[in-house]
């Protein structure tokens, strides 16, 4: 018995030692080597090969993507495995696959921040001229420090307000002119006038999102981050956010909606669809569901102007991984999916804006007149939006800074601090986040 106990103890001690030795090593490994320049991009050589595409869907885009994949498979005689993940699991799942040496070949992303060092520079495969096919703003977000394209901006989103046309008409308040946007003061005055005349609960609603708040910051001439790092002008931010905070304190905006979900994103689309507000600041991704579900006449409106006009951009990206088993095929797939013809199919299905220069010049035909009218407003906003906003949206510290912006505004709305102190605290946090991304 004593011998058995001794052996068992030895075994446990041995296993423990192995575990300790194993854990004394760094838990990861370095990423794979960069592809050799000039690797084969001969389409004929792809026949019979397989490609894994990790994707998340906003809904209507899925069919467009499947159609395009079918065309690619037929053209190149390859098999594309489309793996659709929930958006909330995408980053975790792809990081786990990269860690396990099972990287997908191509991925759809809403931000490059988490994978910037893992993405395959596309220039050796697509040719250096390929990048010139895309708008300079979206292109700046996918260009690395060496000037290489590490992803393709596959579709573009733009923030702008929606208005409940029926409520405006009922109140006798004139609608905004598409070619002569409101100022912020004019928009707020119109919203309050409609609220008072119609008795709806709120004058204005917006998504609880640092991205949407960045629209207002941009219009007041400041951003959270940029190539130089922290770009926040706290005085401009106070001027931009002061009216928003006041409206929430005055219940002109839904205060509980803002405070009731912690740091999580929350869309105010249901408030707009319920007819509870005449103006709702969101973005073009809402067009599809409003076309289907709104029981009233609505329209997209140009963003109000302050120091600047225009909205704030977002969008999705297609990228290939350096660890792809077939980088040439992955790059060819990314290129195919973002040709003029493919992008037209995709953006019309998804209800998003094109990123290609040619499609922006020629325009895109959407499914119906209502959608077309709204998307034309968003497309026009693209021209009014400051180009620096694209770099802001693509900055690795933007996502964290935007979350902190929401936290600080929430603290002011809850009465825990004042706006001046909150913006000073935000600026300090942004400094830390920018420094973190440089390590």
């Amino acid at each position: 018995m004593a011998r058995l106990r001794t052996r068992l103890l030895s075994l446990v001690a041995g296993l423990g030692s192995v575990a300790l030795l194993a854990t004394a090593c760094a838990p990861g490994q370095t990423t794979g080597d960069a592809p050799k320049p000039g690797e084969s991009v001969d389409p004929a050589s792809f026949a019979g090969q397989t490609l894994n595409y990790v994707y998340f869907t906003d809904g209507p885009d899925e069919k467009g993507t499947r159609d395009l994949i079918g065309q690619f498979e037929q053209k190149y005689d390859v098999k594309v495995n489309l793996e659709i993940l929930a958006f909330s699991d995408l980053v975790k799942s792809v990081q786990a696959r990269l860690t396990g040496g099972n990287a997908p070949d191509v991925v759809r992303l809403s931000s490059l921040s988490e994978f910037r060092d893992d993405l395959l520079p596309l220039d050796p495969y697509t040719g250096a001229d390929f990048k010139n096919e895309f708008l300079p703003g979206p292109l700046s977000a996918v260009t690395n420090d060496q000037g290489e394209m590490i992803a393709v901006p596959s579709d573009l989103t733009m923030n702008a307000p929606f208005i409940n046309v029926d409520l405006f008409n009922k109140a006798g308040v004139p609608l905004p002119d598409e070619n002569k946007p409101w100022t912020w003061d004019e928009m707020m005055a119109a919203a309050k006038q409609v609220k008072d005349a119609t008795g709806v609960p709120y004058a204005f609603a917006m998504d609880k999102s640092g991205h949407r708040l960045s629209t207002i910051l941009s219009e007041y001439g400041t951003t959270l981050v940029g190539p130089a790092g922290n770009t926040l002008d706290t005085a401009a931010a106070e001027a931009a956010l002061g009216p928003i905070v006041q409206m929430m304190k005055d219940d002109q905006m839904p205060r509980d909606f803002w405070l009731g979900s912690g740091t999580k994103y929350k869309g105010a689309n249901e408030i707009f669809l319920a007819g509870d507000t005449p103006i709702y600041l969101s973005g073009n991704w809402q067009v599809g569901q409003f076309s289907q579900n709104a029981q009233f006449n609505w329209a997209a409106a140009p963003n109000p102007c302050a120091k600047e006009c225009g909205g704030f951009p977002g969008g999705k990206f297609m990228a290939a991984f350096k660890e792809s088993k077939n980088p040439a095929l992955a790059a060819e797939f990314v290129k195919f999916m973002n040709s003029a013809e493919s992008q037209t199919t995709f953006v019309t299905a998804a209800g998003s804006l094109p990123t290609r220069v040619d499609l922006n010049e020629s325009g895109v035909k959407y499914a119906d007149a209502k959608t077309q009218a709204a998307m034309d407003v968003f497309a026009a906003e693209l021209g009014r939006t400051p180009q620096a906003d694209f770099a802001t949206n693509g900055h690795p510290a933007f996502s964290g800074s935007a979350t902190e912006l929401v936290n600080q505004v929430s603290a002011v709305v809850a009465g825990n601090t004042d706006l001046h102190s909150a913006m000073a605290a935000l600026s300090t946090k942004i400094d830390g986040l920018v420094a973190e991304t440089k390590h």
Binding site: P27, G28, Q95
Partner: protein, 308 residues
Amino acid sequence: MTTTLIPLSSRPPMKRRGRGTWGLRLAPYLFLFPNMLIFGMFTIWPAINGFNMSTYASSNGRTFKPVGMDNYTTILSDAQFWAVARNTVIYAIAFVLISTVLGIALAVLIEKQKRFKVFFRSVFFIPVLISPVVVGLVWGWMLERQNGIVNIGLSWFGIGEVPWLVDNGWSMVSVIGVGVWMQVGFYMLILLAGLQAIDPTLYEAARMDGASPWTQFHSITLPLLQPSVVVVVVLATIHGFQSFDFIYTLTGGGPVGATTLIVQYIYENGFQSPIRYGIASAGGVLLFVVVFLITIVNWLISRKQEAV
């Protein structure tokens, strides 16, 4: 009939443990092996790795930079961490106290029922079976300030709108209340089993001696229920410190971090941009140390009381 006793010295010698008995002695370990393998792979190994990762900085889970104890000093100098720690302690203490007291009360009341005992036991246990995410969503609707059923009910008694989820104080009350509602049925079941193990003749004897129901409860039930109470307190402490999922769907940790507990802090560092695996791991290690110490203290106290 007589029995003949054989002297020990003349008994045949016992068969020595040979190779045949090795199989029997190994069998329990072989039966345990598959479970221990899974436990080791998916619990022990990640836990050890968590300790290790807490000494590195990583934002992608693949490239790691050794930072020694920097993650711990970063956390311990972070004002947000201390606010979260304060929330966690308040939540855990309130949760353990209320769950335990309510669990004992429910167990005693159900034990005394002559009819519908199974029905009541099931009713109080049902919340344990519901997904915490669903619990958070449903209570979120019920506690909504303007249209929630709770405030509508209170308005019948002339009570104004209570900001259950959007006021710092009330949101913590809501989170504690929902947490207790969700778990108390489980603790009640453990305590009920403890009650049923108490010898009924003790109560009969006490009644014959003229002991009141309170005296019976105080002098018989509580002391003999103590082992079950210790189990409940230990489990409730662990549950209290690990609460996350239903809170995340109920309040998202808000308003302004008023209901953010330590596990959400770990989750946000580990899985939300900017991702900080090292900080999240260090937070996990600190949580482990605190829960481990509390469990040891509980165990020592219960052993001391058993000895008395």
